[in-house]
Structures are given as structure tokens and as C-alpha cells.
């Protein structure tokens, strides 16, 4: 098949999990013998066109802007359409696969223009991210509905998301497929100097490193982790928190960290590149995923692949990725008490930690390899090409 993946995020334009997902999926499909073109937005220092590990990447410049975000989003979709036309002349796509509402206008236009099937992956919903508020939010919600309506098949990454999409947008369940996010497990098998990496982030050899990786936005629940600093610090004086990521809440979270009186043990690193992220994850003693809304939670998979125990909120797809007391520890969302309990449970019992890590690694290699996810996604494409809605 000749497949077009349309996404507003693609490395090095990395914000959340979508860029990594699209890149991982593209490489897996190429390995299976498909031709894959990714059409995406530009980023400073990147070429308009390049081939990365067999994936043809077409980047689009947005030549006209507007201060309003939604107006800008529609403008960049126009420029994406132009780039899509170039890519289609080169590759003559069989199928178009869009990722989230931001690229829906371009994808839907091309579905009708080329008369080719459209597949849509809904990574999250506006309704779930923020509950609906104000005109922009309602419009995004409408765009998400529209993308699902126009798609021949809708992919969701968890059973929880399937319930959300079918319930909120009234999408027939038989039109949806659950295909989880994948992970390159082998990336985490590389030897790294764990101790040197920890030291770069202010974590000593005898310290307990509690790691968070994600966008600094309300849905990630970082504030509830920061509020545990005193309690965990009292129980484990050697505890150090490393908070990796960017987001509009950063200044608020730094303020909150100061309020705990434990600022000295909390390091906000900002954005760090992928290569460093692997080393940092492998250096952690525990990864905490304190999300209050999480359709999937790829960061939990990354920790599982890196053989680091995971403490995760029992929400959405995250609760499906991490199995309580087997591949990680579930805690209540929005509860510092519960998060602190989970961290203490893991840090205080080496045998338990080893058991979780062993089970988690087995699970991640069996269920979440990109090879498996690529095969499942290709099956969805075949259904879409056949017009099969069952």
C-alpha cells in the first residue's frame, strides 16, 4: 500500500506523544513493505523534504498567519493541502491517515478529491482534555466529530477512548478499531551510563530519583505529584524529583514547588531531546504518571521498556496499559496521598519492584511492539479499502 500519514507533529517538532507515534508507525509500515509519506508542518532547521529510514517526509510552510489559533489552524491546513498535492503526485496514495482534528480539514478535502479512503486516529478529545468551554472549545469538539464522521475507519488507542469516541460523538462501535500506541523496545536496551546521566540532573548515586515526563498542562496532574514532595521527602530523605517537559503551567508549578519548602529536591528540566530521554528514563528509580485524563499514556510504556517501575493514575487508557500489582501500581488521580503511597510502596520493597519490572517488560515486548501495532494498523487500512464497516 501507498500510505499518507498526515500529522501536525513529527520529529523534531515534538510536543506530546503524537510525533513519536506517527514516526514509530511510519517506520513499522515501511518495514512491512509499504510505501509511507508523512505530510507535516515545518520546524526551524528542517528541510522541506527528506527520507528518514525509508519514510518520505514532506514538510509544509505556513506562509500566512493570524494571531487567532483557530484561524491559523485553518490557514496551515490550506498549506498542508498544497504539500499533500505534491506528495500525492510523487506517491499516488491509496489511503490517507490523519492524526487528530488539527489536520482534519486537509485530510477530509483529499478524501473527497482523490476518492480514497480516510482513516482517522483520535489520540484524545477536547471533551476529555478540558471539558467543553467557550466557542473555540466547542468548535474543536465539532471538528473532532467531523473527522470521525468523515473517516471510513476511526482508530482509538484504548478501550477507554473507544467508549469516549462512540459515546460522545455517536460513532458506531463497528466503525472503530482499538490499536494501542507502540514502542521501540530495543531503543531501551542500549547501554547507558546511568550514574553519569543522573548526576547531570542533580541526582546523586545514593538518591532515589522520581521521574515525571510529559507536558506541563493540567491534564497531566503534575501538581499532585509535586504536592507529595514533603511526605515522600520525610520518608525518603534522599528522594529527588525530576520533572521533564514544557507547558504553559510551568511557572505555576515552579511556584507550587516553592510552596512545598522542598524546591531544592525538585528539578524542572524543560524539554530534553529523545536520546537524552532514554538515558534519563533508564536512570530513574520510579516513573510517576499522575494524569487526571489520559487516553493512553505512552510514557508508562517507555518506563516499562526501560525496566523502571511505574506508578500511574487509574484513569482512561493508562489503567489499561498498567495492570495494578502486576506491571505497575495504580493510584487515585488527584490524590497526593495515594501517589505518595504508590511511590513509597515501590521504593521500599526491592523484591516487589523487581517483580513489577519483569512483568512490565514482558508485557511491553509482547503487546506493544511497533511490529505488532504496524500489522494491526495495516489490517484497518485493508478494511477501509474494502469499505468494510464491521
Amino acid at each position: 500500500m501507498r500510505i499518507c500519514l498526515l500529522s501536525w507533529e513529527f520529529p523534531p517538532r515534538i510536543v506530546g506523544g503524537i510525533a513519536r507515534h506517527v514516526f514509530g508507525l511510519a517506520k513499522a509500515l515501511v518495514k512491512k513493505g509499504h510505501e509511507v509519506g508523512v505530510v507535516t508542518l515545518d520546524f526551524p532547521g528542517t528541510p522541506d523534504y527528506e527520507e528518514i529510514e525509508g519514510v518520505k517526509v514532506y514538510r509544509s510552510k505556513t506562509e500566512v498567519g493570524h494571531p487567532n489559533f483557530l484561524t491559523w489552524a485553518f490557514l496551515f491546513n490550506h498549506f498542508l493541502e498544497k504539500r499533500l498535492a505534491t506528495a500525492n503526485r510523487d506517491m499516488n496514495f491509496d489511503i490517507i491517515h490523519i492524526h487528530d482534528w488539527l489536520v482534519a480539514p486537509a485530510g477530509i478535502a483529499f478524501k473527497h478529491l482523490l476518492k480514497k479512503p480516510l482513516v482517522c486516529t483520535m489520540h484524545s478529545t477536547e471533551h476529555g482534555r478540558s471539558t467543553l468551554h467557550g466557542p473555540d472549545s466547542y468548535m474543536i469538539d465539532g471538528m473532532e466529530w467531523w473527522a470521525c464522521y468523515e473517516a471510513d475507519r476511526a482508530i482509538v488507542t484504548s478501550n477507554s477512548m473507544q467508549g469516549e469516541v462512540c459515546g460522545h460523538f455517536h460513532v458506531p462501535r463497528e466503525k472503530t478499531d482499538v490499536v494501542p500506541n507502540g514502542i521501540e523496545v530495543e531503543k531501551y536496551d542500549l547501554e547507558v551510563d546511568r550514574w553519569a546521566t543522573r548526576r547531570r540532573y542533580g541526582v546523586g548515586d545514593n538518591d532515589k530519583m522520581i521521574l515525571f515526563i510529559g507536558r506541563l498542562v493540567p491534564q497531566k496532574g503534575v501538581e499532585y505529584l509535586i504536592r507529595t514532595a514533603s511526605r515522600i521527602g520525610w520518608r525518603f530523605p534522599e528522594a529527588r524529583f525530576v520533572i521533564v517537559g514544557e507547558g504553559w503551567m510551568r511557572s505555576h508549578l515552579e511556584w507550587l514547588a516553592n510552596q512545598t519548602g522542598q524546591r531544592w529536591r525538585i528539578n524542572f528540566t524543560g524539554f530534553i531531546p529523545d536520546s537524552e530521554l532514554v538515558a534519563l528514563t533508564k536512570g530513574a528509580d520510579v516513573m510517576v504518571v499522575p494524569s487526571v485524563y489520559e487516553p493512553f499514556g505512552i510514557v508508562a510504556l517507555e518506563a516499562m521498556a526501560a525496566r523502571v517501575p511505574v506508578v500511574a493514575s487509574q484513569v482512561g487508557g493508562l489503567a489499561e496499559v498498567v495492570e495494578h500489582d502486576k506491571t505497575g501500581v495504580h493510584v487515585y488521580p488527584r490524590s497526593p496521598d495515594s501517589i505518595a503511597w504508590g511511590v513509597e510502596r515501590v521504593l521500599s520493597d526491592q523484591g516487589y519492584r523487581d517483580w513489577l519490572v519483569k512483568n512490565a517488560y514482558e508485557t511491553v515486548t509482547k503487546r506493544f511492539s511497533w511490529q505488532a501495532i504496524g500489522e494491526q494498523t495495516a489490517e484497518v487500512y485493508k478494511k477501509a479499502l474494502k469499505g468494510d464497516n464491521s
Partner: protein
Amino acid sequence: MSGYPPVAPSYKVPEEFLFLCMLHNIGAVNTTRAITIEEISKWTERETSEIQYNLSKLQELGYVLTIQESRADRFHVSPSGIRKVLTLYS
């Protein structure tokens, strides 16, 4: 009393961050598309003093870069600023 520090009564997207989003959305995202304070003012209908205040905060944080020129300095969002903006929408 839980013993935990309080959550701030309310928090919202900081003003300088919204300004950074506008700068990004109008396309000032690299050296060739960097723009002057006067141009930003025309685009956003904001006072130049307010723009200067926000720009200096964002420069300190590394989210905006400056190109110094004899006529008027030009500004654009840095790669880390672009990533920061996208977190609002992703």
C-alpha cells in the same frame, strides 16, 4: 488539614504565554520571518509598551530570539518557544 501545600485558588494561562502564541500564529517563527515591535503591534492591536514588556520576559526565558538591526530590532519565536506554544493545543 492534609499537610500538603495548597493548590493556588485559580490559575490561568499567563499573559506572556498567550502573547507568545500570537507571535507564533502570525508566523514569526524563524530568522527570515522575524518582525519588529511596530509590526507586532499592527498584527495584534496591542500597545508597544505591553509588547516590549512581554518580549523581554520571553527573551529571558529563551522562548523569543532577537535579531539586532540598525533600524529596529526584529523578533521571532525560538524552537523551544514553538514547542512551548504547541503544548497549549496538543
